[in-house]
Amino acid sequence: MIADMMRNFELYQPSRMEDALALLDRYGKDGWRMAGGKDSLDWFKDRVKNPKAVIDLMGIAELKGIREVKDGIEIGALTTLTEVEKHPLIQKQYGLLATAARRVASPQIRNAGTLGGNAAQDARCWYYRDGFPCYRAGGNTCYADTPEAMNREHTLFGADRCVAVTPSDTAPVLVVLGAKMVIRSSKGERVVEAKDFFIGPGVDITRMTVLEPEEILTTIQIPKTWAGAQFFFEKIADRQTWDFALVSVASAMFIKGGVIDRISIACGGVECVPRHLKVVEDIVRGEKQSEETADLAGQAAVRGAIPLNYNHFKVPLMQNLVKRAIRSA
């Protein structure tokens, strides 16, 4: 049953953004930003992460809610996945995001988990999660990239000491939709494109996003660029509920007279960041939406993949998912 109690920490539940930022400044690396808490509490129970202070952000009203703005929509980072999934405007114009949100974990987790928390979540490599002193945890070994390691869920691309993948279902969607991430600290605000928000081990091996310890992701802006496009999302996981994607694909296309006019496509679960498939976009743009085009796209998508010992299956899986995305079925 209960393996461990969480270690003690100071709990803060600020209701104002300034207070939260001041607390993050005060505690620095000893502070922990908590949103829905679904991942945070697991870390604490496993006693792998032991912050001195936990700053629960869920009381800050300005971080929640979905607003229609001139150029698209703005989603507060702490809007729950259920709210995202059920929102009429998101369903109508940005159905890709609603579909992906609905595929996250389980209903109870979606009721509590937030869009910002889902997008910015940490790697799911179990060596890392179990507290092994790996590169990502600040050590000097990768336990997943050895001949006998269990690396069925790990990366195909961009390995750099660490071979973990992005576990998020919404992250590839945010990249596809060209979302902008609004980040605030006590020093001010900055806006980062979703494709730059996620970072691989080559940039910083100890984190998955550009968020600094004293920063808070406040808003996710989705421009109108892909509103009402033809969307495709598919997530393959061992289980339909709870599980993280082995490979997922998200795409948005505008088709004119059977020809792919504009396209944006990305895969999850194959790299530490959502893999934006620019090469596929270049190949299929201006081509007929056909089996042949889909074939070519699939082949191009997996070019350069370097599987580990146990995840060769991901290559044809990714290839087929991209194929299905292009022919939209």
Binding site: P14, A20, L23, G37, V54, I55, A105, Q108, I109, T241
Partner: protein
Amino acid sequence: MFDQKELRRDPVPAEQAENRSMSALNPNISRRDFIKGVICSGATVAAAGYMLQGGQALAAASGTVERLVSLNVNGQVRRVDVLPNETLAMTLRYKLGLTGVKLSCDRAECGACTVLLDDMDFYSCSMLTHSVRNRKIITVEGLSSPSGKLHPVQQAFVDELGPQCGFCTPGQVLSAVALLKVNPKPTREEAALAMSGNLCRCGAYDHYLKAIMRVAGGV
């Protein structure tokens, strides 16, 4: 298990804190104006009240949490001493004696600890009790009427022989109640999706689904 530890720490210097607590009361009144007002009216009793409120406003403004909290559980307000790192499942089960809340995986992966917060289903093992202070909590104990009459979902679970070992049942019942609240006439697929966050190791999923369809009038 529950280590006692110093819980409150003054987060800001006293002088600053006082100013902040004042501004929390009314942003338009400066500290000086406030004191003048108190002296002029001679309202010492009222002042005492304000000072006490000031203390609470300080806690709310900086976001530190009080140990003693009021929880609205099954229609009753329960006062309970809660640690900062205490999950709702621990509070409900071990401090308030609501053993219908089952602790199984303790990792938001099984659904045995499901409770309703404002009529939505949540895993109580993976929420801090402090984060549900202002919400209406319902456990399986709060579903039946005071006379002991079962909730329609509970009755349907009995009629359809839902539970086998029964361990997951409270969670299953509450997930079903949450579903029927937002979607009183679900299709079987919708019901299956809504119930997908609750595991049943006896494999009585079909019985539970049938029970939900019975409540929804779909049998």
